[in-house]
Symmetry: C2
Amino acid sequence: MVTVCSGGTGTPKLLAGLTDVFDPADMTVVGNTGDDAFVGGALVSPDCDTVLYERAGRLDRETWWGQAGDTFETDDAAVELAEALDDALSATEPPPDTAARPGGYLPPERQTAGPRLARWRRFDGVGGPLSIGDRDRAVHLVRTALLDAGHSLTSATRALARAYDLTVDLVPMSDDPVATLIHTPEMDRPLHFQEYWVGHRGDVEIDGVEFRGSATAAPGAAVPDALGEPVVIGPANPVTSIGPLTAIDGIRRALQDTPVVAVSPFVGREAFSGPAADLLAATGHEPSTAGVADCLPFVDGFVIDDDEPATLDRPTVRTDLRIDAAADASRIARACRDCLAGVGATEVAA
Amino acid sequence: MVTVCSGGTGTPKLLAGLTDVFDPADMTVVGNTGDDAFVGGALVSPDCDTVLYERAGRLDRETWWGQAGDTFETDDAAVELAEALDDALSATEPPPDTAARPGGYLPPERQTAGPRLARWRRFDGVGGPLSIGDRDRAVHLVRTALLDAGHSLTSATRALARAYDLTVDLVPMSDDPVATLIHTPEMDRPLHFQEYWVGHRGDVEIDGVEFRGSATAAPGAAVPDALGEPVVIGPANPVTSIGPLTAIDGIRRALQDTPVVAVSPFVGREAFSGPAADLLAATGHEPSTAGVADCLPFVDGFVIDDDEPATLDRPTVRTDLRIDAAADASRIARACRDCLAGVGATEVAA
């Protein structure tokens, strides 16, 4: 048995290799839900969705989000209509009570007015940071329908995974709302992660990262058992892909108590993808493999690049960390297995 | 100035004629919202939508709902996924807390858990009675975004109408939730109108019609002024298209105080479309023009068919009520104008 903690890009790219090296029937993937967003009333769970679509062979592998070959009829029509509305609202007589235009994150006073899971992650369905394809939207509507029918997010996520014939067990980190918020001196309110990363392309000054809700959130229903097994963390952004997990007490403690290996998302100062460097720097860590190790003290061993200049105070296994083809993912997955064996996890091989 | 009270089929079919005979710039259309439904978190307003699309030249005139040439990618994918889920949910281990499947009207205890406007009209976004096209859905998302931004339903509806360049003023009957519920001995809960009519094709025994919320609902922001003008009611179902309006005290009183003419939706015992006959019978009225007159006591004059066998106790104007072409709608609209003049409304002609 092995458990994989996943964000939305690096770890999903490694999954094809991990399922080569470990038996997928004995693998649980715990997805970060700090990036989740309620968009137009439906719960989008980007990291779990990417794992779901990747494993189901439906992922758009150009973008690493959404479904391959999806259409965007609703999104396009909503944006077009919102543009026409801008003029219309200006001309409305009598003028509306508020001059508010639709488009994106709801104002702070509305963030807690929706369903509990939507807290601090409520976007309207028009022109927000996330583009939602038409078939992608169906998944969000079905997930939300399952929640409305009384299922936990764990139960809803597992049902979707089974409907898509996944062999791995995919579960969310928590059944409670945790919202990753980026504090910036440029705005009078924190940005939701999706606004920060997709909306602003990460181009804002950061003076803090908050996982709102994490103090009272419990690990997801399937997480305690999953974290009793050896854990692999892919080349994930440690701040906003793994940070939401470790912000939950029960998850942080479980990770301290089980063998954990992580693939560095850096070679030297260069991150493979995403905002890891800025986020590490903003949270007081060096933007490097050493900074990642500093940020994730519970990790027992690291898989680092052949060209990595740093040496760490923990066991390492070196390989080429670039993932261009399936064989790359398999090679890195074997390095993870070797690293786990090196830190005392036994019987993890397929 | 003239005001038109509209349901979802008969009156919209007459609008092309009414805007020939009356100046559309001086016309307000008050749409029934008793059929409205929150579907997957977005407010669908079927009667206002049909007027909106008809006036914008976007209506699917085969079905008289939805946009012409729309696609159904999300709806189709959601239904397909829900079918795959049925097996998946049965196989989920451990079994979910509840065995609830998504699909349609939420259980009674969840009906009041959403936004205020969603009360007693909450459907999940999967396999409910309403098919929602992808571009149609964009309109619902924008409407809901406007509500989330603080607009009243009146303000949101007017903004959509302006964005679609409507010349008539389109407003909802109320900014408060009113839900048309059909009580049937066949079910242990009432059916939402959309379940009754679209879901069950009207094929259930009816022992009562309820307009839940109407006792506390106020007329929409624009309705009192609009109902100070002469009123035309098209060939509408008097029970569920006009009933929700008259269930609101302020609207019923306003209709009593202004000249009102109505086009009969019957010739003899034959309704032109929809469930008018069953609903009249179930509410103690004869399913006929005489029953409609009985049901709408505030109507001052009726436009009835050349072949109508009944005679009424109120002024009537006769014409052929069948609407097959634009000329038919114009002819009936002229009869409405003549009928209004006959009941004392002056200066209503274009």
